[in-house]
Structures are given as C-alpha cells and as structure tokens.
Symmetry: C2
Subunit: 138 residues, 2 copies
C-alpha cells in the first residue's frame, strides 16, 4: 500500500452561532482561537491540528476570491469529534464540564477498558473526550 498522510490537520464541525461556539470551545474546552471570519467561521488550535467551526449557510456558497478558490462544503445535523486527553485527566474533565453547566450525556468504558465521556456543543454536535488507548494509541 502507498504511503498514507501523516495525520489529520483539520477537523471540521458545523455550528449556527459562532459566539456560542467561541464561548464553548475557548471558554470551556480551553482551545486557542486562531482565526475568525465574522459570520462564516472560527478556528481553534488543538494539539498538532486545527478544529474548524463553520456556518454551513456561508461555506456552501461558491468561493468569491479567485486567488483562494476554497471549494464549497457544509453539513447539517449533529456531527461528531473526539478529543484526546490522558486517562488520569478524565475525572477532571468531567468536573470541569459539569462545573460549566455542560450536561454529561454518557460516560462509560469500552470493552478494551478505555473511558469515553460524551457531551454536546451549543450547536448540538456530539463531542467525546477519551484516552488514546481507545484506539491502541499511546
């Protein structure tokens, strides 16, 4: 098999309210905001990747700048992403989320013993926080 990409550089979710997204992803999740185009998107650094929050009604429009012809995209309905933390940090994350008024939707262990905590962002996306051994990673 040919070489694969080294990793995923950008993970995207879609939201309806960028201010609510900023409050949540910066204020609760602790991510660093790196760029925003008002009304269209807000991006956050997360480890060695970037989390992109897009407003789909804007990103599905054809590109207007010939120098940066970013193709249209845009999805509706709850998406999913999972954040990686160390196993020992999961109790603290649960407390932090609850302390911020974020409902814990479920918190369980997979057959391999890895623990996952699920919750929602303000747009209704299904977020998970888990430990690397979920996928046999260290």
């Amino acid at each position: 098999m040919a070489d694969a990409p080294e990793g995923i550089l950008e993970t995207a979710l879609y939201v309806d309210d960028l201010r609510a997204a900023e409050s949540f992803y910066a204020g609760v999740m602790g991510l660093e905001r790196i760029v925003e185009v008002e009304g269209r998107h807000i991006f956050f650094r997360c480890g060695d990747g970037v989390l992109l929050l897009f407003v789909p009604e804007q990103t599905e429009k054809p590109p207007s700048d010939p120098a940066m012809p970013v193709p249209p995209h845009g999805a509706y309905g709850p998406g999913h992403a999972c954040f990686r933390v160390e196993a020992e940090a999961l109790d603290g994350w649960r407390s932090r989320l609850e302390g911020a008024g974020v409902a814990i939707e479920t918190d369980f262990r997979w057959p391999n013993g890895a623990r996952s905590i699920y919750f929602r962002d303000p747009a209704g996306n299904s977020l998970e926080i888990s430990e690397p051994k979920l996928w046999g990673l260290s």
Copy 2:
C-alpha cells in the same frame, strides 16, 4: 485559561456507501482500516488519530446496547477534513490522486505560502491535503 485537550483523537465524516468509502480511503488515500460495522461505519487510522466514516441514517438512531450508550449523531451534506503531508510530498499526492481518477477541484497557495490541494471523496465530502505550515505547525 485551563488546559486544553492534547489533540483531536477522532475526526468524523458522513458517507452514503461504505464500500465506496473503503475503496477510496484505503485504496487511494492509503489509510489502514481498523474496524467496520456493516452498513453503519468504517474507521481508519490516520497518524495519531482516527478517521470515522459514518452512515448518518444509522448513527442518528438511539443506542441499542445499554453497555455502550453511544449518543446519536449524523450530518447531511458535504463535510470537510484536511490531511497533513510534508510540502515535498504534495506533487506526488496530486499525481497519485489524478492517477486514481480523482478530480483535483483546486490547487493553490495561501497568503502564507502553504499549498492546499482540494478534491472530493465518493460521498462528496470536500477533502484537502496540505502542509503543516498552513497553520504554523512543523
């Protein structure tokens, strides 16, 4: 600001055809398939993360296993993700994609000099392959 997660462990896209997704993500992108639940999802390892391809009509159903109450999710319409490769590998990736019959939707440089190549997966998701300096990463 409180600590942030270490990174993104799972990136999700939605597809309508898991066999087409496997042909593309394994056969063209070179990703290692790690698990499949027939008709519902297929997952691939990608560097230190996992790319999840879900059929939204299945994942939006409430969980049926009380031991693994995975919350429902599911989005419709073209999503987006970006793969990370070294800058020197981008010419080879363009050739590889074209050789596999994948149309290059656009290929340009951002103001910071980083090059992005855009194409679509069989489900119409907007995929990008770029170099880490796009986001000031090394």
